[in-house]
Symmetry: C2
């Protein structure tokens, strides 16, 4: 095992990277300037030290409060509930939502031994109980686990005086009826809106 094989091995553990792509990346780095290698190594070294969960929403942050939670321009009456920190970035990229977030840190998945206790649910309830929240948008993925989790969250929020909504599910824009799977088509029928 040379240093090159070690690097290929480490790179091929990344998601979506096979042996061939890892080898291509390693040779690219070896052929290129050593500074590119050093920079990537530096970024990897500081990552876990610098990034921590936001103390309010659970999203990634370099400070105690994340950029969204500390922004006075955000609408504090709406909370969007997501599974993972990267979902916050995905929704932020759309530039459509101006409220706050709440990261559950996963979904209820009994087969993997993940129950409601492992999710950040009590802190969500506390945030809603503080009173200024008007609406909670459930933005978990439209999968079996995501739907189950959304249903669970909706139930525990029911006693509180807050509107609970769910992201619309149906045909993707630019999609084709012919290629839609049955479940998606069935949902788009049941969830049809007046034109």
């Amino acid at each position: 095992m040379t240093a090159l094989d070690d690097l290929i091995e480490s790179l091929s553990r990344l998601p979506g990277v096979g042996k061939k792509s890892a080898s291509r990346m390693a040779h690219f780095l070896l052929r290129g300037d050593p500074s590119a290698c050093e920079r990537l190594a530096h970024d990897l070294t500081v990552l876990h030290d610098r990034i921590r969960p936001c103390s309010v929403c659970g999203s990634y942050s370099e400070e105690d409060l994340c950029q969204v939670c500390s922004d006075p321009g955000r609408d504090r009456s709406i909370i969007c509930v997501v599974e993972q920190p990267q979902d916050v970035q995905t929704i932020e990229a759309v530039r459509e939502f101006n409220g706050l977030f709440h990261v559950l840190g996963g979904v209820i998945a009994p087969l993997e031994g993940i129950g409601p206790d492992q999710l950040r649910l009590s802190s969500l309830v506390s945030r809603v109980q503080e009173g200024s929240v008007r609406e909670v948008i459930l933005a978990t993925n439209p999968t079996v686990e995501g739907d189950t989790t959304a249903l669970y969250v909706q139930r525990i929020l029911k006693p509180l005086d807050v509107a609970v909504t769910r992201l619309a599910s149906g045909l993707p824009v630019g999609g084709d009826l012919e290629y839609a799977d049955r479940l998606t088509l069935s949902r788009s029928l049941r969830g049809r809106v007046s034109f």
Copy 2:
């Protein structure tokens, strides 16, 4: 720019990695154990220090001589000429070739300002002149630049008493006549072999 954005930026500079894959990798590393991050950072840091060109063939090595050149079991009468060090690994993986290698370090590409002087040609001539080499296989890529380079190498080796061969070019195994491009089909016709 947070440490997470920095890492995504650095990862997206790797070949074949876009913004989305880089983000997925970065979140995977952040979610996972810090030791995976540290190991990858370590592999990157030592890469350029440990790996250098083999003093004979120009392939990557951790010693003065690479594993192939220092192996007494290899056939020293055949040299396979390739463009890049990674081509050595590709051919080695086939386990079909038992000779030595010679890495040119590129191809003749006038548009990119790469002429014969930038390639490791004089050391190839010296190796052949030493006398024990019987055959030189030209294994540059079957592209315009690779073919041009092969032709050039063949010409400078002509005065020396050595057989010069070229990798066969034609239909890939498992391919389909219908989907073969015209140049490949034309080559496979011109290079037809008796059955």
